[in-house]
Amino acid sequence: MELRKSYFADVRKDGLNEIGQPRPRLDSPGHVTGKTAYFADRNFPGMLHLKMVRSPHHHARIRSIDTSEAEKHPGVVRVLTAKDVPHNVYTILILIQIGPEDETVLADGKVRWKGEAVVAVLAETERAAQEAAAKVKVDYEVLPAVFDMEEALKPGAPIVNEYHGQNYYLYDSGECRKVRFGDVEAGFAQADHILEQSYQSSPIEHAPTETTGCVVAPEGNDRFTCYTNTQAMFFTLDNASIILQMPGSKLHFVGGTVGGGFGGKVDVIVEPIAILAAKLTGRPVCFIYSREEEMQVSSPRAAEKVVIKDGVMKDGRIVARKVTGYTDAGAYSRHSPYGAQKGAAHYPGPYTIPNVWIDTYCVYTNRTPSSAMRGFGVTIGDFALEVQMDKLARLIGMDPLEFHFINAYRDGDMKAHRQPTEGAALIECMQEASRAANWPVAEKYMAISSYGKGE
């Protein structure tokens, strides 16, 4: 890695004592010698293991649940179903007033995705919990499922989540988050060329080294200590408090040393049910995802579809951009309504375009609920935007890198979501990339700067 200090030297104060210094990490000796303690290093006498009975169907009504055989299995201490959870229907962003509550801790009457938690089994050993979970009998009536966002949005599609009532998240702006800037149709009318293309992506896994989990110990004073690898301590504590209808003062969370998150540990999934289990049994409980659960049950990055329609001039200026983005939330909201909204603010990318129209939808399907992942709301948008930029450049016979310079935003330019650009540095990144990759561009592009258009 090289630091190119020549850029922006006039606005940067170098020469500090600690900042800017490549100090060795104080925690790395513990990491590389295996001495750092993670949540799963906590072990308590009499600790129980929690295993989930999960839905084998993408969409089904639950006719009945029979746990009698599982309860008789040697080593089983307790079996939990929806009726044991004080506030079973929740949604994590309710803390900042983003509802409705739309997800169950344990399925109640219906499952909406394959892998959904239905029954929790607590046993003396992991093996006993696993074996007993296999003895839980759930009678399902399989329902039609929908796996495609456009299918889900068609009239007559199966309703995935009754708490929403339709297969999209209803924003205060309607069925999508909207950004309107300039007059996009006038822009298209003026353009030399129009290009409309669509892009899509698949869900992907966060693949942290350490799988999601927690260990909960009752403290004997009516408090519970939860050792967890959550990415957000109070977010998880406060949601657990709501789900368990238990004052937050009864909960003590300890964490902060985590083996990789990438956004996969901001859902509140394992902690509330493990605390409930510790409360109902009076014993320590551990609930740790297997690698299979981490990969197929925990939220992936959302699948997305992005449709971009651009109007471009022969001289390289983009004069209109219309983007329709679809985020596949899967069966439940989790963080996806925010992800779709983040996308609305991110489009049309780091370019100054006078006429912009953005609609972003958060769509419900019977896929695994998606949620936050490194860059969500932006990563797939950037894939679509930057492939589109390459296509536009070639469409008008221009070098792709030079085409970027023509449209790059600079300080003071108004963005489509009506924030003035500040602290831009796209142009300088491209100038340096031009040098580093030996991809020459015209001298005039090497002479401009992000500081503004007064060159």
Partner: protein
């Protein structure tokens, strides 16, 4: 049939933080009796090195070496609120909170030293090595060790401070979408060079040259670990990963690292990282959040390089050999 070479470029920006509910984080800082400093947070270190960076930020602000600072995180019985570690917000939000808390603690420290040295606190400065000096008369000085002892056992002062980062919550305007979703923006430009085997559809990423603008490299070695790792993740996202390889059929999703494909050591591209620093107006020492954006530009750069190599567009991720071969077949069929 041949191995074909191509290159592609992509340029991006990335917002720091998520402005839902004001994106708050708090920090507390206090001195021990011998002048070491505790930073108390509920923020989470995911392995990226949050604790180390908070220690360096506190040390710089107080004026002591980093090894005099201990970061205690994350315990909800002691640490004040933090929204969490996500949205490229950790360093920026918690860093600002730590600076504010450390400044308050530093002020008390200087006041105690001023009483001991019988000067005005405004006439004092720190040398970064653990001493407080009178400006212009450095022979008149006192160690922070002694200042802390005095505060604890003689002057009855708590060398401590409280810090908070909070911005006004942004509600998007319904019709226009006017909103302030984040604070500062990081930037990147990546050029990827690939080889595509037009017989097998296999893509080899030869080089990725990444230029990242991140505001301020608070610890350049840690910046490097994050940017190199992110660049690898971007390549993996572009070419390998899916939890649903046979979608819309949902069967046969990977359940372990044998089945869920990611590039291994033998697949690593030659990776070049160049960092530019345009300090942000509101970041700790100008830092922005590069944690997420560093994994983004490789994806379209590789997609564009594949087109440059074999002349077909793969507009769906991941860009698998199967998709490339189908596109080549369709292209040949005209």
């Amino acid at each position: 049939m041949a191995i074909r070479r191509g290159r592609g470029v992509a340029a991006i920006n990335y917002p720091t933080g998520m402005n839902l509910g004001g994106d708050p984080t708090q920090a507390l800082v206090h001195s021990t009796p011998t002048g070491n400093f505790m930073v108390t947070l509920s923020s989470v270190d995911l392995g990226q090195g949050m604790k180390q960076i908070m220690a360096q930020i506190c040390a710089e602000t107080i004026g002591v070496p980093t090894d005099r600072v201990v970061v205690d995180t994350a315990d909800t019985d002691t640490g004040p609120h933090c929204m969490g570690t996500f949205a490229s917000r950790g360093t920026h939000r918690a860093g600002n909170a730590v600076i504010q808390a450390a400044r308050e603690a530093r002020q008390v420290m200087l006041e105690v030293a001023a009483e001991e040295l019988e000067v005005n606190a405004s006439d004092l400065e720190t040398d970064g090595q653990g001493n407080i000096l009178v400006k212009g008369a450095p022979q008149k000085s006192m160690s922070i060790f002694d200042v802390a002892l005095s505060a604890h056992f003689k002057r009855g002062r708590s060398i401590s401070g409280r810090g908070m980062f909070l911005i006004p919550r942004s509600y998007p305007e319904k019709e226009t979408g006017a909103m302030k979703p984040s604070t500062c923006y990081a930037h990147a430009c990546t050029v990827a060079e690939v080889e595509v085997d037009d017989e097998t559809g296999e893509v080899t990423v030869l080089t990725v040259k990444n230029v990242f603008e991140i505001g301020r490299a608070l610890n350049p070695k840690m910046v490097e670990q994050q940017l190199v790792g992110g660049s690898w993740m971007g390549i993996s996202h572009a070419l390998y990963e899916t939890t649903e390889p046979y979608y819309p059929n949902r069967d046969h999703g990977g359940t372990d690292f044998n089945q869920y494909l990611m590039p291994g050591l033998g697949d690593l591209a030659e990776t070049e990282i160049i960092v530019l620093e345009r300090p942000s107006a509101d970041g700790p020492f100008g830092a922005k959040g590069p944690g997420e954006m560093c994994a983004n530009p490789q994806i379209p750069a590789i997609a564009n390089a594949v087109f440059d190599a074999v002349g077909v567009r793969i507009d769906a991720l991941p860009i698998t050999p199967e998709r490339i071969l189908r596109a080549l077949k369709a292209q040949a069929a005209g």
